[in-house]
């Protein structure tokens, strides 16, 4: 049930490969106001954004990340199931050879969970209240 879209950023530069971001809504959480705001910010920053739509299971996210040849795997989680989801997703991404891509997560993420998320490989953790530009800058600085 994956619905994807490739949206081109306005600030595209001819000739250079733009940063490609898979923006995923993990699990059953239906809050998508935030992820859509982040998608627009990323497009304005010149990234190519592939938004998955709601209700993505770990297998689907890992497969899309591989198929779409993305540089960044970004999750938006508002309903509290970020840790169980990321524990399932991390080994699948690794199995798909995506360990060297940038993994980030944003949303309703209690401070006490940040270390666990980083330990799983989600180096960029952006809890509610993070700035849009901080997310985009982090991607620009950390994509290899």
């Amino acid at each position: 049930m994956s619905t994807t879209t490739v949206a081109a950023g306005a600030a595209a530069q001819a000739g250079t490969r733009r940063i490609r971001v898979l923006l995923a809504k993990p699990g059953l959480d239906g809050h998508d106001q935030g992820v859509k705001v982040v998608a627009r910010a990323m497009m304005d920053a010149g990234f190519e954004v592939i938004y998955t739509g709601l209700r993505q299971m770990p297998e689907a996210v890992a497969r899309m990340a591989l198929d779409e040849d993305v540089d960044v795997i970004a999750l938006s989680s508002l309903a509290g199931s970020h840790l169980p989801f990321c524990r399932k997703l991390a080994p699948l991404l690794e199995a798909n050879g995506l360990r060297d891509k940038l993994w980030i997560i944003g949303g309703n993420l209690p401070a006490q969970d940040h270390d666990a998320l980083r330990a799983l490989g989600f180096s960029g953790v952006f809890p509610t209240g993070s700035k849009l530009d901080a997310v985009c800058d982090y991607i620009r600085e950390n994509v290899k």
């Binding site: 619905t3 059953l28 309703n108 209240g129």
Partner: protein, 537 residues
């Protein structure tokens, strides 16, 4: 334009796009349409309130949103809230229940009981409301995609306990069109989803005439980025779509319109919100009277819960959300709402604790007991500012509704993602304005603490053990029920879904046989298919 505006004053435009003047006089009221739509409380067009005496007769119902873990735990929280003076219940369901999955579904793993109570079968509903007098405490269920099943379970539970279902009050949210715009707990495609809403309205009109089968939600559309005027205008367009579906089946408007209810948001500029509610009340009455030829006053009432305010709360300096909550409660009281609920100060972090839920409840009780908000009906009525802005908000809502109709109607605009793209674009602009400081937010872009303190927020723990117990309990029900009866009932659900007759009798039969939410949903998915999101930016 306002000719009294001095050149040194910058113009103020509210979120709905209307200019706010530094001063209002009788001339402004006159220019905006006068007091033609004001009327008396309890009389058409109900700008001042749907009842003559409003809170003087009975204060608003206090209905905090609650539910988590298994039905036993939720039952305990319900009893705690009632013991503390809460007068209604607002049930939160977990995500698997909301999208029609059983607790043992692989997709439900890690989500069972997390954001609400987990319900698999009628047995769970029996446990959740055990010991609660349904004649005294009205129950509102925040359920949408799976609403037909949960309404059937609630009615079946009440009937089993000996209540006369014809007298039973209560509400189901059951507003699927707004789930496609924001919130996202849809299951089936748009058309069968609207059919199911029609089925519940039609069924309740006959079998449970005091039950409110739908609460149309501007609330979540506002949370998704809509302005206050859009919030109400889109909600009215959605309510009309449901009404049209029921009228198409030959049910007279006065047989069901009196049980339609609404859910609106209370964050934002105080006067803009109050005028939104006053304007909306008269606009809905006008729509029902003039467009639908309703005759009963009850059919024209904008019965509502004015609640929440989550979109206005902040992650930064969370204690300030207690202060915001008090102002939002004031907005709600001045709006003439029937029911009030407040987001708790820690909701930007976690599910509210007993402590934070009690603060919200006490906030409302202070308004009732100490502040005099229940003594006089529509205390702001007659204010030059409030009456002018009420007229202007009503005109703005009518303009937005006309735009929707001209573009093909709300069902089309939701189906193709137009509304979603519009509100999400607005949400993006608002977020940019907050980050740049153009839209002030205390503690976020001004008056920040020099050093962020540790926030005094206690986290609601997720209990893995609850999930295991819930699955165990489901298996026990499955072992005890009459499987042949379940199979017959599920076959009827499938047959009725195909034939197009009202699905509620079949669903009621299935829940009484202890068929599960997931099993009943599966039968319908096989006939209806699943919704696919239109993704547009």
């Amino acid at each position: 334009m306002n000719d009294r505006l001095s050149p040194e004053l910058r113009p103020v435009i509210n979120e709905s796009g209307l200019e706010v003047q530094p001063l209002y006089t009788a001339a402004d009221v006159e220019e905006s349409g006068g007091l033609e739509m004001l009327g008396e409380p309890g009389q058409y067009p109900f700008t001042r309130g749907i009842h003559r005496l409003m809170y003087r007769k009975q204060p608003w119902t206090m209905r905090q949103y609650a539910g988590f873990g298994n039905p036993h735990e939720t039952n305990q929280r319900f009893k705690y809230l009632i013991a503390n003076g809460q007068t209604g219940l607002n049930v939160a369901f977990d995500l698997p229940t909301q999208i029609g999955l059983d607790s043992d579904d692989p997709m439900a793993e890690g989500e069972i009981g997390r954001v609400g109570m987990s319900i698999d079968t009628l047995r769970d509903v029996e446990i959740a409301f055990d010991g609660i007098d349904l004649a005294k405490i009205t129950v509102s269920m925040t359920i949408n995609g799976a609403a037909a099943i949960l309404i059937a379970m609630y009615l079946a539970m009440a009937e089993k306990r000996g209540y006369d279902v014809k007298q039973l009050r209560g509400t189901a949210q059951n507003d699927i069109l707004k789930e496609f715009i924001g919130r996202g707990t849809w299951i089936f495609p748009v058309e069968p989803s609207i059919r199911l809403v029609g089925d519940t309205i039609e069924y309740c009109a006959e079998h449970a005439p005091k039950y409110s089968p739908v609460s149309v939600c501007g609330y979540h559309i506002r949370e998704s980025g809509a302005t206050p005027a859009q919030e109400m205008a889109y909600a009215f367009c959605i309510a009309k779509a449901y009404a049209d579906e029921v009228i198409r089946r030959g049910v007279p408007v006065d047989e069901f319109a009196g049980r339609l209810s609404y859910n609106f948001n209370i964050f934002g500029n105080l006067f803009e919100q109050i005028c939104k509610f006053r304007a909306g009340r008269s606009l809905w009455a006008k729509i029902m009277k003039e467009q639908y030829r309703a005759e009963k006053p009850g059919s024209m009432w904008l019965r509502m819960i004015a609640a929440g305010g989550g979109g206005g709360l902040t992650f930064e300096q969370p204690e300030m959300n207690i202060v915001r909550g008090a102002y939002y409660a004031l907005i709600s009281a001045l709006s003439g709402t029937q029911t009030m609920a407040l987001c708790s100060y820690d909701e930007a972090y976690t599910i509210p604790t007993e402590y934070s839920a009690r603060i919200s409840l006490r906030t409302m009780q202070i308004l009732i007991e100490e502040m005099g908000l229940t003594e006089t009906v529509d205390p702001l009525g007659g204010s030059f500012y409030v009456e002018t802005m009420t007229n202007r908000m009503r005109a703005k809502m009518e303009e937005i509704m006309a735009e929707v109709d001209a573009a093909g109607g709300i069902v089309k605009l939701v189906s193709d993602g137009t509304i979603q793209a519009k509100v999400s674009e607005q949400a993006y602009r608002m977020q940019r304005n907050i980050e740049s400081g153009a839209f002030p937010k205390v503690g976020v872009n001004c008056y920040r603490n020099e050093k962020e303190e540790d926030h005094p927020v206690e986290f609601h723990p997720y209990n893995e053990e609850d999930a295991r117990l819930q699955i165990e309990s489901l298996n026990r029900v499955r072992a005890e029920r009459d499987e042949a009866q379940v199979a017959r009932a599920l076959a009827r659900v499938s047959a009725d879904a195909r034939s197009g007759v009202n699905l509620m009798p079949a669903i009621v039969e299935a829940v009484k046989a202890y068929a599960s939410v997931g099993e009943i949903t599966r039968e319908m998915v096989q006939v209806f298919g699943r919704y696919r999101e239109p993704i547009r930016f």
